[in-house]
């Protein structure tokens, strides 16, 4: 009996230790900083494009008038700052503030503050166009922005960092528990996204039969590069379809193992890169790849990005980032 109790308590003790290691190990904020740099750039570009027809999509009397949205979104928690203004000058003012916030997040200027403002504004746009003109890009953008709020996303690859260097502070960015928590939550959220994306495909017929990729490729409105040659390659279509489905379904398991993780992440690059190249959803494909970068180890990120960051720092402030 004593032995059984010892085993049980040992199990929970190890479980608690693993839980602590998973969530509370301080990590180099390089990964979170890279996600901020790229995610901030994507937020900036995404919202810059709204400027082309702000009155149509976001304006109070546009394609989806505010009165129409009020009928649909009765919950107080479905919120948007655009609901607070009934004029186009108000909408433009918010839009310009938002673009500044996204640019600051991208460049890493007052990173934590700009991350909070950028996230709130990104959600405001997304709620304003849901329904209306939202799609997966808005979900990915808001997901990335949400977790940037939680950690020191400007610790590296940022103007904040260069400013500290300029003032003579060459101390390396310290490992951070909150950076780990932010990255862990993003990783877990991404697992949820792929799991349900895979499960939703199981409701259909074409994904199970292996023909879905053809029907996606044959959609003229999506198509950005001609894929009609796939008509003569049914086996290839089936292979891509089945691989995509199984990759999505098992992403949440395989991405945690260090041996399967590179395969899973490179598959993500191929799948989302393919969507970007062939189906014209460049922004969505890139946003999902950016979210997948959260699985890169900080050492890997630093090995790839630090040389570029050093060049920028040398050029701008005459010092290396360290």
């Amino acid at each position: 009996m004593k032995g059984a109790w010892s085993n049980i308590s040992g199990y929970f003790s190890e479980l608690w230790a693993a839980w602590n290691r998973f969530w509370f190990t301080p990590v180099d904020p390089a990964t979170l900083s890279l996600v901020r740099l790229l995610g901030g750039g994507m937020l900036l570009y995404t919202h810059l494009v709204w400027s082309l027809d702000l009155s149509g999509f976001i304006g109070p009397d546009g394609y989806t008038p505010l009165a129409f949205m009020d009928q649909l979104q009765r919950e107080w928690s479905v919120w948007s700052v655009f609901a607070w203004t009934g004029s186009m000058w108000g909408v433009w003012t918010i839009h310009i503030v938002a673009l500044v916030a996204f640019a600051m997040l991208f460049m890493g200027l007052f990173s934590r503050t700009s991350a909070v403002v950028a996230y709130l504004l990104a959600v405001s746009y997304a709620h304003r166009v849901t329904p209306g003109a939202y799609f997966g890009l808005d979900k990915a953008n808001c997901m990335i922005a949400l977790y940037l709020v939680l950690g020191p996303c400007g610790a590296r690859y940022s103007l904040d960092r260069l400013w500290r260097l300029r003032r003579g502070d060459q101390a390396p960015a310290p490992p951070s528990v909150s950076a780990n928590i932010a990255v862990r939550l993003l990783q877990l959220h991404l697992c949820v996204v792929y799991l349900f994306s895979g499960l939703a495909k199981l409701e259909g017929v074409t994904w199970k039969l292996g023909t879905a990729m053809w029907w996606a490729a044959a959609n003229y409105e999506y198509q950005s590069l001609d894929l009609t040659w796939l008509a003569g390659w049914p086996m290839l279509v089936a292979l891509i379809t089945h691989l995509t489905l199984f990759w999505e379904l098992f992403y949440c398991c395989l991405v945690w193992n260090r041996f399967t993780r590179p395969i899973v992440l490179w598959t993500a690059v191929v799948v989302h890169g393919g969507i970007a190249l062939f189906m014209g959803m460049i922004t969505f494909g890139l946003a999902m790849i950016i979210a997948n970068l959260s699985f890169l180890r900080p050492e890997t990120v630093r090995r790839w990005v630090d040389p570029v960051a050093n060049r920028v720092a040398l050029a701008l402030v005459g010092r290396r980032v360290g």
């Binding site: 003790s13 107080w76 003109a133 003569g232």
Partner: protein
């Protein structure tokens, strides 16, 4: 941002103010651990059992966070992940809700003909509800709404489907056509993201949940404003997909035969003195 900047290099224990900075160096992390954790830490060659017990505490001490903050953050993280999981879980189940019928039962009308499930009276045969995801989604809805994690993730599912286009013609007061175009349009809507927004606008206006809400009128009004016209005719068009065999036989994806007109909406700009807008039969659904 300056808040994250360590005032001195992390090797110095004196500069480790704040949870994250304390965690910078192993020595500092140990120093920052709570007194209870320090007491629990092994001193010298502890027996195996003590080692096992001390291991989690030592691991936790590496974070520099006390037990209570770790428990609080753990609970918040678990709650958040549950919320992020619940929203797509329930959303995905909604389209597959079926009327509550005993297994094997085939509903029939007075003439003995089989009644399709979608035509059953929901009052008589209410759908089977997924009670757990529904309760969770309802209970967590304000949290998921506030954070915009209230989404499903059904990309190209359950099956990739056809696209829709809105063709429009704008007329002035003398009924002369002054503009025409379509949503989305690759030539007019650039860059690609802008095109995609128009594409989503058309697709989402066709959502069954939007039927009868007059969204088409809002689109018509906005297009009239843009082109400064007096009347507009919208045609909702479905663009059918071609099977591989049809493409192999030489058919083009954008062949005229692949487009099907679904309905027409004519809309006239309301005039101040005139009666309500003159709307002809709705189309597009």
């Amino acid at each position: 941002m300056s808040k994250d900047r360590p005032p001195v290099p992390p090797q110095s224990a004196s500069g480790m103010a704040g949870g994250e900075r304390r965690a910078a160096a192993p020595s500092a992390a140990t120093g920052a651990a709570s007194s209870a954790e320090r007491k629990a830490a092994p001193v010298s060659s502890p027996p195996a059992e003590t080692k096992a017990k001390a291991k989690p505490r030592a691991a936790a001490a590496g974070s520099g966070w006390g037990l209570l903050p770790r428990i609080a953050v753990s609970l918040l993280a678990a709650f958040h992940v549950l919320a992020a999981f619940t929203a797509p879980w329930y959303i995905q189940l909604r389209p597959i809700l079926r009327p509550a019928l005993p297994p094997g039962t085939v509903p029939r009308d007075a003439q003995g003909r089989e009644i399709p499930l979608e035509q059953l009276d929901p009052q008589q045969f209410p759908p089977i509800q997924p009670v757990l995801p529904r309760a969770l989604a309802y209970g967590l809805r304000h949290y998921t709404n506030l954070l915009y994690i209230n989404n499903g993730y059904d990309f190209f599912s359950p099956d990739p489907s056809v696209s829709h286009i809105i063709r429009y013609e704008v007329f002035d007061q003398s009924a002369q056509k002054i503009a025409e175009g379509k949503l989305p349009d690759r030539r007019d809507h650039w860059p690609r993201l802008f095109y995609h927004r128009h594409m989503m606008l058309v697709e989402q206006s066709r959502d069954p949940a939007m039927e009868g809400r007059g969204w088409e009128n809002a689109i018509a009004r906005e297009l009239l404003e843009k082109h400064e016209g007096d009347a507009i005719r919208l045609t909702m068009v479905r663009h059918h997909l071609l099977a591989p065999q049809q493409v192999m036989a030489g058919e083009r994806l954008d062949a005229p035969a692949t487009y099907e007109d679904l309905g027409v909406l004519e809309y006239r700009r309301p005039r101040a003195a005139a009666a309500p807008s003159e709307e002809l039969p709705r189309g597009g659904s």
